[in-house]
Amino acid sequence: MTAANLYIPYQMRIDKVTEEAPGVKTFRLGFVNKDDEGRFSFKAGQFGEYSVYGEGESTFCIASPPTRKGYIECTFRQMGRVTTALADRDEGDIVGFRGPYGNIFPIDEWAGKNLLFIAGGIALPPMRCVIWNCLDLRDRYQDVTIIYGARTVADLVYKHELAEWENRSDVKLFTTVDPGGQTPDWKGKVGFVPTILEQVAPSSVNTIAIVCGPPIMIKLTMPVLAKLGFKPEAIYTTLENRMKCGVGKCGRCNVGKVYVCKDGPVFTLAQLNQLPPEY
């Protein structure tokens, strides 16, 4: 593939398919062409355009951390034409990938701070990258707290990793499901994410909050964080506007003077507050 033509994707082979939840899958992708792998690097928070040849491209974040070399992972829910076609792919199949695009979580700036990760539903994947990135560099950070909720127990993604975090002494994990979404043997919490956040009430002192979830969860979580004393500059999130090109040309993700694909997808709440609410 020519590096000169940004619209031509890398060919990636699906090395592993993991069923995360109903309709949600994770692909581990390896470069077909080893030269591509050598050229490629990315940082936590970035995204790419994944494609099924003949069906088109779809945008999602890179869900694996840059500290794990040799592959990238993506997690997606089967929704439209491309994701349906993607979901039909199997191990060994070839898909396309363009990227990495967008800005990053400034994890270097976070050194020495407490990290609070808050995620809902299918929004854990964008955060999984940065969580593992930070956990792989664990000694750079103080307390790490993760609050993760989904509608039902079945809808929780990365169940095996949740178990791993649960067992780690250096991670405080709180999983929760919406009322009615629990199973008889559910050991986690029951309640909406903002409610659980209020219960857990982590300290905002020297803490960075990274929030990702459906619009309604974000909307209800922000006031709780404010109440806990988090400043807008200390709250990060990642936006998922519709994109096509990924490089600030096609015009889709333009919000105010910002192009989510170039200026984002990672924003602090302080930055979002400057934007028109068109995301």
Binding site: D88, R89, D90, G92, D93
Partner: protein, 663 residues
């Protein structure tokens, strides 16, 4: 990528004789998504099926294409094999290499290429198949029988005797229908009422049958196994519980000059009446149109004399809602009026009557006690002419069909006349004699040969009065087309059998189709003669087409056996090949814009309205919803839907599209 297995069947020599099956298997193996491709002599054999089962497990197949014969033949076989192999049976598709390819082409390279195309199409389809599950619909084991003639009676008794509940609805005050009006029946000449009455009584007394007379179907909703019918019980103006049927009321009723419908206007009845002495139920109703009290506000004589105080002038129509699992339409026929044949003088001359009127004249319980008398002066006719096809088989008059029974009853009428009036002369004008039934031809021959009825092959052009005689003028086409003129005392017209005047309305109520003559249409003229295209509704008797009694009874029993078959299970299981309306997320919730053009297109009335509301009950939009019990999977709505909001499970737009693109 899906993991598809392709299984090419040789069908002995049937396919492999013209198609290079090994080549098809080899090329198919290269299709994107195909992970397994083999050919075999007989895929439907046990070892062949085992190839499929094993491959499903070993290769973790997500879909199977069997390229063999028509799915009509072996789709169930291979779907079962897939199910046994652990794959959802609806992930199995068949490419028809036999009927669509090897049998219709010569052995040429192009034939193999076509076979490859057929396989590729199905591979592309099966990649997009989704597991489907049979639809189970509960069955209410009660049948609604519409009409209490011989068809309804037979169907009701058969269903009831099979152990199921029956609700019978009859429009008249008594069941019995037209058969109760008949004198003797061809070809055996047994007395119609004598054989019918016991059946009527059986209906009334059957513990499984609920009988509503003087009642009509008001509304029918729902679908097979789950219909909801509203029955309008017209006000009989009597309390049926109190009435003993003693008959004092109609003896006392002062209005005695009402023309009796049962006696085809040849006799009279009272305003409070039972249609005929053997009526079931044998309890009177008040005909409010003719009752002096209802018309003029005075009288109430029946009320005064009723020993059980059963008269209820203030009774109202009653609407009864019932749940039923099946409906048998047995609403019968009507006799065509002859007004539209002015040249035959019906209505103008009282002694020109219909066949049905002749039945009443010939009936021992009829207005003349079975003596053939002229309506005009009561004289016994010395010469009588019967005219067959008086309306039937005459496209110019709007009835192009044959009424089927006229040849036989005309022969019977002529014979009965000759039996009663030994010196009389009987002429029958006919076009052809259609006597295709057991002992029918023999019966007609007997009429001609033993009873010396004069059969004249020819049309009657005109009937007119000449000095008190009815001059029947026609042509005898058998004798060099000689004009013929007969002076008759009485003329009997075999008028056409036509649909009930409100047949169309009824059909629309039941949402079933009907033909241009307003007869109800069966689902298939040969193979599904008693089913209607709306599942769960069956048809019996002359409401479908003109029929004689044996045929009517046979069809009624057939309908009953279909109903009993339907009721033999607690739940109906059907193939999930039904339409579905797609739903999306807020704020649209569905691409359906609610134009409901699909509603008018659906031949099965399976489209319902679904209101999408907010959590606090505010209406967002109304969209189409498919009743999966009613939907037959025809796909008409899918083709019509502009936004492609409707899809047919098992034949989705995506699947069909993929098939086409792969060509």
């Amino acid at each position: 990528m899906p993991r598809i297995g392709v299984f090419i069947c040789h069908c002995g020599e049937n396919i492999s004789g013209t198609v290079d099956c090994a080549e098809v298997a080899k090329v198919s193996a290269e299709f994107p998504g195909v992970v397994h491709s083999v050919d075999y002599k007989y895929m439907c054999s046990d070892p062949g099926q085992n190839l499929i089962k094993n491959a499903i497990q070993e290769k973790k197949l997500t879909g199977v294409v069997v390229a063999a014969c028509s799915p009509r033949m072996h789709e169930p076989t291979f779907r079962r094999a897939c199910a046994e192999g652990g794959l959802n049976p609806f992930l199995c598709e068949m490419a028809n290499l036999r009927e669509h390819c090897s049998w219709v082409h010569e052995k040429l390279p192009a034939t193999t290429e076509k076979a490859i195309d057929l396989v590729r199409i199905m591979v592309e389809k099966v990649k997009r198949n989704r597991p489907l599950f049979s639809i189970n619909v509960p069955v209410t084991k009660t049948a609604l029988v519409l009409g209490g003639g011989i068809a309804g009676i037979q169907a009701a008794l058969d269903i009831a005797n099979a152990g199921h509940k029956v609700i019978m609805v009859e429009r008249q005050a008594s069941i019995g229908g037209h058969m109760a009006q008949l004198s003797e029946t061809f070809p055996t000449l047994d007395c119609s009422q004598c054989i019918l009455t016991p059946r009527m009584v059986e209906v009334a007394q059957h513990p499984n049958i609920t009988l509503y007379t003087y009642a009509e179907l008001e509304k029918l909703d729902g679908f097979i196994g789950n219909f909801r019918a509203v029955i309008r019980k017209k006000a009989k103006s009597i309390d049926e519980k109190l009435c003993t049927g003693c008959g004092v009321c109609f003896q006392k009723c002062p209005n005695k000059k009402i023309l009796s419908e049962f006696n085809t206007h040849l006799g009279t009845r009272t305003a409070i009446y039972v249609p005929f002495p053997q009526a079931v139920p044998n309890k009177p109703v008040i005909d409010r149109e003719h009752c002096m009290y209802f018309q003029k506000g005075k009288c109430r004589i029946c009320e005064k004399f009723c020993p059980t105080k059963a008269i209820r002038f203030d009774q109202q129509d009653e609407l009864i809602e019932v749940n039923v699992g099946a409906v048998v339409a047995a609403t019968g026929y009507e006799v065509k009026d002859t007004d539209f044949f002015p040249e035959y003088g019906y209505g103008k001359y009282p002694d020109i009557i219909t066949g049905l009127q002749f039945e009443r004249l010939a009936s021992a319980s009829g207005p003349t006690g079975g003596v053939i008398k002229r309506p005009s002066d009561g004289r016994i006719p010395e010469t009588i002419a019967f005219i067959a096809c008086a309306g039937s088989r005459d496209p110019a008059k709007g009835i192009s069909y044959c009424s089927k029974i006229c040849c036989m009853y005309t022969a019977k009428h002529a014979m009965l006349y000759k039996h009663k009036v030994h010196q009389g002369k009987a002429y029958v004008f006919y076009m052809d004699i259609r006597a295709g039934g057991k002992m029918y031809e023999e019966f007609v021959r007997r009429t001609i040969e033993e009873d010396e009825v004069h059969y004249v092959r020819g049309r009657v052009s005109r009937i007119y009065d000449r000095d008190g005689k009815l001059v029947v003028r026609g042509v005898d086409t058998l004798l060099n087309a000689k004009p013929i003129e007969i002076e008759a005392d009485m003329v009997v017209l075999a008028t056409a059998m036509v649909a009930q005047p409100d047949a169309e309305e009824l059909a629309q109520k039941m949402k079933v189709s009907y033909d241009e003559n307003k007869f109800l249409s069966e689902a298939h003229p040969k193979l599904r003669p008693v089913e209607m295209n709306t599942a769960g509704i069956f048809v019996a008797g002359a409401c479908q087409a003109p029929k004689d009694i044996p045929e009517t009874v046979a069809q009624a029993s057939a309908a009953a056996s279909k109903v009993a078959g339907l009721f033999s299970k607690d739940e109906l299981s059907r193939e999930p090949v039904v339409a579905v309306v797609s739903r999306t997320g807020p704020p649209e919730f569905s691409n359906c814009v609610g134009c409901f053009l699909c509603e008018s297109a659906c031949p099965y009335q399976a489209i319902e309205h679904e209101e999408i509301k907010t959590r606090d009950g505010k209406l967002i939009k109304t969209v189409a919803k498919i009743n999966q019990g009613v939907c037959q999977g025809c796909g008409t709505c899918v083709a019509l839907c502009r936004t492609k909001s409707i899809d047919l499970q098992g034949f989705t737009n995506e699947q069909i599209f993929a098939e086409l693109v792969s060509l």
